[in-house]
Assembly symmetry: C2
Homo-oligomer: 706 residues x 2
Amino acid sequence: MASTASLEPFFAPRGVAVIGASSDPTKLGYGLARNLVQSNFKGAVHFVNPKGGSLFGRTVFPAISEAPDPLDLAILLIPAGAVPQTLQDCGQRGLRAVIIGSGGFRETGPQGAALEDECLQIARSFDMRLIGPNCIGLIDTHLPIDATFLPPPGPLPGDVAFISHSGAICAAVIDWARGHSFGLSLLVSLGNQVDVNETDVLQPIAEDPFTKVLTLYLEGIRDGRRFVSEAARITRQKPVIALKVGRFAGGRRAVASHTGAMAGQESAYNAAFRRAGVIRAETSEEMFDWARALAWCPPPKGRSIAILTNAGGPGVTAADALEIHGMHLAALSEAAIQQLQAELPPAASLANPVDMLASASPEQYARCLQILLDDPNVHGVMVILPPPPMFTAGAVARAIIPVIHHSEKPVIVALMGERLIQEAVEHLRAAHVPEYRFPERAASALAALTWRAEYLARLEQAPEPPLDLDRARARSLFQANRASLMPGAWLPVELLEELLACYGIQIPQSSLANSPAQAVEQARRLNFPVALKIASADIPHKSDVHGVLLNLWDENAVASGYAQIIENVNRAHPAAQIAGVTIQKMLPTGQDLILGALQDPQFGPLVMFGAGGVEAEQLKDTAFALAPMSAEEADYVIEGTWAGRRLSGYRNLPPADRAAVRGALLRFSFFAADFPELAEVEINPLRALTDGQGAFALDLRARLNA
Amino acid sequence: MASTASLEPFFAPRGVAVIGASSDPTKLGYGLARNLVQSNFKGAVHFVNPKGGSLFGRTVFPAISEAPDPLDLAILLIPAGAVPQTLQDCGQRGLRAVIIGSGGFRETGPQGAALEDECLQIARSFDMRLIGPNCIGLIDTHLPIDATFLPPPGPLPGDVAFISHSGAICAAVIDWARGHSFGLSLLVSLGNQVDVNETDVLQPIAEDPFTKVLTLYLEGIRDGRRFVSEAARITRQKPVIALKVGRFAGGRRAVASHTGAMAGQESAYNAAFRRAGVIRAETSEEMFDWARALAWCPPPKGRSIAILTNAGGPGVTAADALEIHGMHLAALSEAAIQQLQAELPPAASLANPVDMLASASPEQYARCLQILLDDPNVHGVMVILPPPPMFTAGAVARAIIPVIHHSEKPVIVALMGERLIQEAVEHLRAAHVPEYRFPERAASALAALTWRAEYLARLEQAPEPPLDLDRARARSLFQANRASLMPGAWLPVELLEELLACYGIQIPQSSLANSPAQAVEQARRLNFPVALKIASADIPHKSDVHGVLLNLWDENAVASGYAQIIENVNRAHPAAQIAGVTIQKMLPTGQDLILGALQDPQFGPLVMFGAGGVEAEQLKDTAFALAPMSAEEADYVIEGTWAGRRLSGYRNLPPADRAAVRGALLRFSFFAADFPELAEVEINPLRALTDGQGAFALDLRARLNA
């Protein structure tokens, strides 16, 4: 059970005690004491050490019990073995928030893990919250407080909060940020997360008025669904960017379905981040590049970007980079082109990119930028500024800042070079205008703004009416059959068909035959042509064992086909329990798709959509969403695959019943969400007939959790 | 006709004249004079200006004719209109190398282009070479000479040459490089390239003993095949990296085939760079990141990398980044693990990434690095160095440098942070050890080293025996028929079949029928089942107009099929000239592929390989190579696509005749190279039968150049 006690004492403590404060400058307990004193923290600071004495002009108390009020937060930098007793003391002293900076816990092996568990028990008994152990603490640059032991100076005050699973990354980010004059609002190092984890801190940090953007360095997520719902609430107000590492750490999933083979570890993370509105960065640089843009720029209303430059080469580079990031060059309005013409020499290029030529003055930069921002065809502007031959980049920066501040459209500056542009860098940073050293990085930041704008627009969409699902009947059917099934077993196909039918998924007419004669009789009843498929819970992939015959047109073919299938299966899989052969009405040809679902260890039911058939795995033409899906997510996965896009027709391929596929996908996602008892479920293929004729599950399988 | 006169005077001038030298500090002619004098150039420097006077203690000559020997190079910074007469004067003075820095030429419109052409005429008449116009000149940091007008200081001496189509990018790169202490050997700004272009300068720059790596900023390539052959000679000795921009500038090709639709502008560039051994960078930062690694590190013998870190988080990030870049974590040998164990505390992680813990000393860094480099399972090492809590990063850098210098394996350092690592940065740069601020960038640099190593290994492969091609017969067949064909017309299928047969490409038996009765008679002769296909040069995509019937098993089906096809085609395409219906022996099913070729405007014949059928375009499962292809390139495109990889079999898909496909691909590539008269050629599908049964061109089309 996660604790729900408030985290407020961590973020707004009236008094802080350092337990393990030391006067030895080589000790971490010295560094922490120094930082607390030097960081200008307005609350009370107390030092505790059995040795007593004084430190930075303050008395060192021999025990926490002697430290006076106010006191909301203790930070422990003492040997791991002493932590449990000290937590007891803290609890008795009335503390409800403790940061354990010390290492020597879970990261060192089973003994350390047991010690860590003991700490959690003690904390729970006092309704006390813990950050750490094995962390570097936290920083609030606005409160201000520096509760880390890192060498000074700490970060400059800023708009971006950083939450990290890794203390080493925190240290590197603080140093890097200081070196680049990149300000932070809050920084929290979570360490081993015995109690407080990445999800717990989202809300308190989002409530910080100085924080405009949250950035996360994640090595994993504990409780995926709770993260998604917490993050989704926050991203409506403030952007969240995550760098999730450990992509290749877990190896492949032990699953038997195509879905399992295709769902990389990261499919669920990607689907979860998309639903939560969390922007996923691929590199650390990208994360902080994006954070500045998101903190300082309004969201663009569209993807049409204007480029303003004083040289051709960088303009071409920028245009490429915009296209690579899914944006495009705005078609400038006639009015804008005329105004630019009046402003610029005849040899200037008025088409987008607008090349003002090397002679461009600061005033020309400012006036042309204003013209572009006034053009309704333009949703945002990238200004390119190589060291200008005739003027300083600083003068150009000063000239354009007021124009940018008065605009409701985002403007991002690519400052090219290093030494000759330093003055411009400083002006722009002070003015909160994002600047990047290369057009490629500026384009990537514009793309993050676009992603954010489109996410906010999606939130505005009206919800669709609910689907008609007979969930109660499906649940009772399942319960009635469950006892007869072994853990990890494949569901009998008949049961699965009934379950899916309760969710409104269409299945072609079929029946089970136990002899060639029965097969012929049933084929006659269904009308030719028919398909024959082996019916065996032991054989999930029927075609691999030649257990499927399609397009049988007469009674002889059915009778001999029955015998053939039984023989094939007996040869390939002698131990398989065979229930018989399913006779199924052949459907007309159509477009074949796969719908798959599995239980992701972090995020629960995850649905896959893609092209049907055995090659789906290899073509990687698949898309994922968490179950149950929203209508918007259904459209996203359909349009995100070629298998989905071609449903609307392509060359001589007639349009298929896209609406029926979309409906089946949504219904399937509710089924997957309602039956967490199923490790994997797969419809492969789902056949989409021509428009208006529906979509049918031709083959299906599901396996119970092991 | 390109000039072949030597470029030596540009790169090793004994004397240089600045024409347009000025004493007005706001003029470019002042900047150039200043840079020449201040750059410590050892040769003669002369100034020319009709106004005369003196500048930097030198006489200013009123005309070039008066400047004394030695004089090999003139640089012009005068109004465009005065350039032709001045070139005349230079020619008469005996100059054979001129840089025209002035703008006002082709970049300003038709008048400027005419002026530029006039300059070229004059230069040709004197066998004089021109760089520019509209460029910023050149720099050699070792000679040394700074023949640009950019504000000082210029770049530091280094190992990397930079060749650029854009002057503004040169200015930005010089400033950026100086700011990052990144040294350059040579820099050449090519401007409008009226004469000397990117290909011309490759050889002279590669001959510079100080240049270890060539970097190119390209907006296009003039003569693609010459670039490929020049660059291929150079990359055997020195790495070349290209940043090619203008990716989206050209719009789509005006072609009718699938190949045309799929071959983006960049397919040919990618194929050309691969053949030439040029490494293609996607961003400017990547190019210079890679350049340092290539200049300073030995090539790795494989893709197994060890990570040495003092913290877990950055190790995970680095492991991810390596995987993303196609490398993997080395499995350390037992011996190495035991040595590490003896070196490190018990809680250290000895699996790769090797996490020495935060307490790691400079000596531990050095000894563990040595252990990893000695492990035969390790091909290269990434050392991760966040600001270490107990030691300085500078001390670690000092400790590991001797180890790195004694190793034949590449070592790359990820220095995390900014201010606390500056001393380490300086040590490593001075020692020529590449360091990067984030593990992601370090991994990308290791990938560039790997690419280079694998390219050098490919060069060692023994050539394959030549193919038996009847090129003479194909050529004479083509010539005999050519006169009867209109420009842009589709070749008659029968002719194309004969031509491809000369190249040894297998075609299924077939014959043309002009009536249902003829069709039946021919089907009987070929044996059932047969396929019927409309024969019309006006219909390249037969199935789009329902002009194909497959799998016809009896005479009735053939007779009615004939009529059906003619009716379908008449309805869909009433104006088409119909030659009849082709009756073709049905082949067994197999794996269908597409072979396509088109004429790329820069690089000539370009061959595409991918999955056959109408959906090939959408799945983007295609790969490209220049024609004719090497055997290595054939394997590369086959293994680079799923369509090619599955030829070796997949699940219940039996192996197909991969050798026959490879042979057909090579033969097809020679055909495409030998017939530049054909704008596009396509075999779709090429059917690969089961192994040993061959690969047959089932449908083919080719169109003459318009």
